[in-house]
């Protein structure tokens, strides 16, 4: 109550000295929240975590939002003749490979010949399988044209084959892309099947009359990974380099001037056949996450899912975290939610939000996987390369239920797979504009259920809501305590007391920025170094930089004397504000990173308080608080969290190898231009350091 009075006074003072003006209701609500911030922060944080757990319950069924798609409304035109074309290609490739061991280029020519026999324009593209390099300015800069190295060795390069069918009813301005990653040197039998499916379809598409968008079939050379060839082909497609590549001289085959294009891409489908299905039916897995948690338009997934389930009888699934399926605490939650749902249904038959515990488990496992791959920011397949050019794309991984050499089943498999693709292409072909009707920001809890941005943002908003409240309340407290100590030189500047704290926060954020950039310079160090060595280099340079910062700017150091140090309440207030801004920014760039980061950072920031008074007072409550903040800070250190999430602590792998693994992980993050890397370096690390400063604050 006293706090409320205090805040009312504050408000009255700001209201131009007229005490009779009653503040508006919204202001009064704000004051009420700020005055009771400890209670509300606990309530809001708990509600945020609960809302996250409730998300699988709140998932809605997917629906096809764009009417023009009309999936499955046309009868499939795929005939046995087309399928036998596909089978013939597969057989030819197999025979060819038996006769000519290890001659990749010849297989490409064989495929190219098949394509041109079907009436397609064929082009070959050479690319260099160059690794991604860290460059500090390349985040968010969109796809860059890979600069060609000066001395390219002819020993390692890949060749993509692309065939284009010109649409009889189109004007050549739009296209649909089909991609089959294929390892020309040592591709397995399953990879041949994917070629078979697409060539069956290609044979059909070369003679249909309804096509209004050109069809591109890209056979990507997957010797050097699935992603790289597709990315190289897309770069050449969108931003050709006019420098004559050294790669062209490597082979007599002229690939220079026959690169073919076919207008804007409306959608892209990547097809892979992989392994044998464990289920009784053929399984279709859908992968959709592109870089930085971007997703293709939901309608594309809906169309594929609808056709696969209702027309071709595939078992459709999306990736899930299998270990969560057997977790007992999640099961308990599921049962509680089920019981509550049943109870609600009994009270009012209209309330149908309960779902069975098993469904809840499945949904949570899928959601967790979706969150994880979005948070990592690394694309889950070659479709990620398309998203950089704003093309909606997904990867379809089909697992047949038969062994690859069974001829009888193969025909049926080709027929169904090609019909699925035909239906999808026919739907996309109907579109007059880009996919825009349905969601871009969503998470899947099953192939036919999704959570839209409006729902999952609630969980995040509840989680971070305490931050501004606590910041405001601490700010008021800090100002009060500073005003009380009268012989303060900053007495004149009533409203600028936060400047010192802001300086400290800014310095540590600058430090975080430099630490984020350091790997770039460490990579420039000549000589071969193991990841462990590099991580040691990184660690030592960062910590010495931190020491230098503390020595040169005594105000920033947690171990400074009381004279230099700022008031910890104001420091905490500014820290929390910085964390709030950082988290909110990140939630827009990549929601999943922000959500996971908030789960770590929000409690750490809220619990952080000076440890010395707590030790001095020796009261149980304050000691408990100090202990909690120490534990949270320990977990919150990025390397520590990485170790915990990897489960490495149990295996006794703590030490140098951990640093190496952490380095490798970060390297993969920046190689994929994941914003998570920036988040860790520029938001999480500085805020963690600031919390440490508050913990050791000499007050």
């Amino acid at each position: 109550m006293a706090a409320v009075n205090r805040d009312n006074e504050e408000e009255v003072k700001t209201d131009d000295g007229s005490p009779k003006i009653k503040p508006r209701p919204i202001v009064r609500l704000g004051i009420f929240l700020i005055a009771h911030s400890p209670v509300f922060s606990v309530v809001f944080s708990a509600a945020g975590v609960l809302a996250l757990l409730l998300l699988p319950l709140l998932a809605k069924n997917t629906y096809i939002s764009e009417n023009a798609l009309m999936p499955g409304s046309a009868r499939s035109m795929l005939s046995n003749r087309d399928v036998s074309d596909g089978s013939k290609l597969v057989k030819d490739i197999k025979n060819f490979r038996l006769n000519h061991e290890g001659q990749g280029v010849e297989v490409q020519k064989l495929i190219g010949k098949y394509m041109s026999d079907m009436g397609a324009e064929v082009s070959y593209q050479k690319f260099h399988p160059e690794g991604n390099q860290f460059h500090p300015l390349h985040f968010f800069s969109g796809p860059d044209s890979y600069t060609l190295l000066e001395n390219v060795s002819c020993a390692s390069y890949g060749v993509n084959v692309a065939g284009i069918i010109r649409a009889p009813r189109g004007d050549g301005k739009e296209s649909i892309v089909l991609v089959t990653p294929y390892d020309f040197i040592n591709g397995g039998d399953y990879e041949d099947l994917s070629l078979g499916i697409v060539s069956s379809l290609f044979s059909l598409l070369s003679r249909v009359t309804w096509l209004s968008k050109d069809i591109i079939w890209l056979v990507a050379d997957s010797r050097y990974g699935d992603y790289r060839p597709v990315a190289a082909w897309l770069t050449e497609y969108h931003s050709p380099s006019f420098k004559v590549s050294d790669l062209l001289k490597c082979d007599e085959q002229n690939t220079a001037d026959n690169f073919r294009r076919a207008g804007t891409m409306a959608a892209a489908l990547v097809l892979k056949v992989d392994g044998r299905s464990e289920k009784f039916e053929d399984t279709l897995s859908i992968y959709a996450e592109a870089s930085n948690g971007q997703m293709p338009n939901l309608d594309l997934i809906n169309v594929v899912n609808y056709l696969a389930v209702h027309r071709q009888g595939f078992y459709v699934k999306v990736e899930k975290v299998v270990s969560l399926l057997s977790s007992s605490w999640l099961k308990i939650f599921g049962e509680i939610f089920e019981a509550v749902g049943k109870l609600a249904h009994m009270l009012n038959p209209d309330w149908n939000f309960g779902i069975p515990a098993a469904d809840y488990l499945e949904g949570s496992a899928t959601l967790a996987s979706s969150l994880y791959s979005q948070a990592l920011g690394i694309p889950t397949g070659p479709h990620g390369a398309f998203r950089d050019y704003q093309v909606d794309a997904i990867t379809l991984k089909v697992s047949p239920r038969f062994p690859p050499d069974s001829k009888t089943r193969q025909h049926d498999f080709f027929l169904r797979g090609a019909r699925l693709l035909e239906g999808t292409i026919r739907s996309v072909n109907n579109l007059l504009e880009k996919f825009h009707q349905s969601f871009f920001l969503y998470m899947l809890t099953s192939p036919s259920k999704f959570i839209s941005v409006g729902v999952y943002m609630i969980a995040f908003a509840l989680l971070v809501a305490p931050l501004p409240m606590v910041a405001a309340s601490l700010y008021i407290d800090g100002c009060k305590s500073l005003t009380n100590s009268t012989d303060n030189p900053t007495e004149n500047f009533k409203s600028w007391k936060w400047l010192d704290a802001a300086k400290q926060v800014f310095t540590l954020h600058l430090f975080g920025f430099i630490v984020t950039l350091l790997p770039y310079f460490i990579c420039q160090v000549p000589g071969q170094h193991s990841p462990t060595n590099r991580s040691i280099m990184w660690g030592t340079t960062s910590s010495s930089l931190l020491l230098i910062t503390f020595v040169t700017m005594p105000g920033c150091s947690p171990f400074s004397s009381r004279l230099h140090g700022t008031n910890w309440a104001i420091l905490k207030s500014v820290t929390i504000s910085a964390a709030f801004i950082g988290l909110c920014l990140m939630s827009i760039i990549n929601f999943a990173t922000a959500e996971i980061g908030a789960l770590l950072l929000v409690p750490t920031c809220l619990m952080a308080q000076p440890i010395k008074p707590a030790l001095r007072s020796r009261r149980l409550k304050s000691l408990l608080g100090a202990f909690c903040s120490i534990v949270l800070l320990t977990i919150g250190f990025p390397v520590m969290f990485f170790a915990i999430s990897k489960g490495l602590l149990g295996e006794g792998l703590v030490g140098l190898s951990l640093g190496g693994e952490f380095w490798t992980w970060l390297e993969s993050l920046w190689a994929w231009k994941s914003a998570t890397y920036l988040y860790i370096g520029m938001v999480h690390l500085p805020c963690w350091l600031l919390c440490l400063c508050i913990l050791f604050h000499p007050s």
Binding site: T14, D16, P136, L137, F140, G142, Q294, R387, Q390, K434, F440, L441, Y475, N492, F493, K494, S495, W496, W498, A502, L517, S573, V574, S577, I581, C584, L585, I588, I589
Partner: protein
């Protein structure tokens, strides 16, 4: 120097070619130097104005901040300045012209002030109404507490030997009217006419083959006033006019352009005529929210002008909140742009929402600054009133 310290950006700027950059860096440095000179003048007048009022004791003299240095540093180290310098925007040159005109008026170099104003107007139309603050500055002198307080103190008999120019003038004319030196103003108007005719003649000579002055006005001022380019910027108008119907376009154009002129100038002029430099700041901040093609360079200018008044604005409310808002929205803006233009998952509303939020915080900043300045004057009044009362009591006994 500040500009070279920003390594990632300077790399980028070197890449762009350093020829244009050198001019812009020079403009920025010159602006900072002039700001420093303006600040020193203002600081001197601040001290001289407070001493006769009896508010400032000699012990507190040290408490006055060197506002010129602060303003120059704020200008050079402002991320907005660095961004507009790196982006090779022309706003540093526009800013230089504005600062030159203010500097000329503060140091009473009338031709320089007129030249700055004409160049600023030539570069960007929105600088034209700066003529009012400049006239006040030349007519009334530097920023000072309102005249009534001086009169009060004189009646109380506290007037001590003052050396200030302003109070010397008051001694000569002890009326409730502010002394206004018409001669300087007429001198200024004359120089404005001279410079503008000079610029116009030069332009008409050089543009003879390309359609003359009429074409120039159409392509420059017309382009600014008619808001023809609707590509997204950090302002709010592009969205309005992209959405507006064609038949209401002219109406909206008139409304919006008059809005800038009528809401800012008369009201601010009335309340802040005793503080012409602050009036210039308030006007520049106001236009940078509402102009047709705003840029971060405008924000850099008004923020550094604002820093000239750190002494007066120590009690500004919600400073931390506004600071956080500025940081948040200026970081959010590129993210939203990326979301809309690069990724294609957001739409124009995302970016426009951000621009609205930014404009809100700018409004709040101007409002709170003006409020703080008026409160400061009020507080001075209260303090002097108390002082006179005490002195009167001591005189009686």
């Amino acid at each position: 120097m500040a500009l070279h310290c920003y390594s990632p950006f300077s790399v980028l700027s070197q890449f762009r070619g350093s020829k244009g950059n050198r001019v812009i860096i020079c403009a920025d440095l010159l602006s900072a130097l002039l700001l420093r000179a303006i600040g020193q003048k203002l600081q001197k007048s601040y001290r001289m104005n407070l001493r006769p009022l009896g508010v400032l004791r000699s012990s507190q003299d040290r408490g006055i901040l060197p506002c010129g240095d602060i303003a120059a540093l704020v200008y050079l180290w402002n991320p907005f300045t660095i961004l507009s310098c790196v982006g090779l925007s022309t706003s540093p040159i526009e800013n230089l012209a504005v600062i030159v005109s203010l500097y000329g008026a503060v140091t009473r170099r009338v031709p320089l002030a007129a030249f700055g104003l004409i160049m600023a107007t030539h570069l960007s139309l929105y600088s034209a109404p700066l003529v009012f603050p400049l006239i006040f500055l030349l007519g009334y002198g530097l920023d000072a507490p309102p005249i009534k307080k001086f009169l009060q103190t004189r009646h109380g008999g506290v007037e001590t030997g003052s050396t200030s120019d302003v109070s010397k003038q008051e001694k000569l004319t002890p009326t409730t009217q502010l002394p206004f030196s018409w001669r300087t103003v007429l001198h200024f108007v004359f120089w404005v006419l001279v410079w503008s005719s000079y610029v116009l003649v030069l332009c008409s000579l050089s543009l003879k083959q390309y359609g003359g002055l009429e074409e120039m006005f159409k392509r420059t001022y017309g382009f600014i006033l008619r808001i023809e380019d609707l590509s997204p910027n950090i302002g709010v108008f592009w969205y309005f006019f992209a959405e507006a119907f064609e038949f209401s376009r002219n109406y909206l154009l008139i409304i919006f352009n008059l809005y800038i002129l009528l809401t800012s100038i008369p009201s601010l002029m009335f309340r802040l005529k005793h503080r012409p430099c602050f009036l210039a700041f308030a006007y520049l901040a106001f236009t940078s929210i509402l102009k047709s093609y705003p840029s971060v360079g405008d924000a850099a200018l008004y923020l550094s002008l604002w820093a000239l008044f750190v002494n007066e604005l120590t009690d500004m409310e919600y400073s931390f909140f506004i600071f956080c808002g500025y940081i948040g929205f200026s970081l959010l803006s590129p993210v939203m742009h990326n979301f809309w233009i690069w990724r294609g998952t957001g739409n124009a509303n995302f970016y426009f929402g951000n621009a609205m939020g930014y404009a809100c915080f700018q409004f709040m900043f101007v409002e709170k600054s003006v409020n703080a300045m008026l409160n400061h004057d009020q507080a001075l009044k209260k303090a002097t009133a108390e002082m006179t009362k005490n002195l009167a009591i001591t005189v009686i006994f």
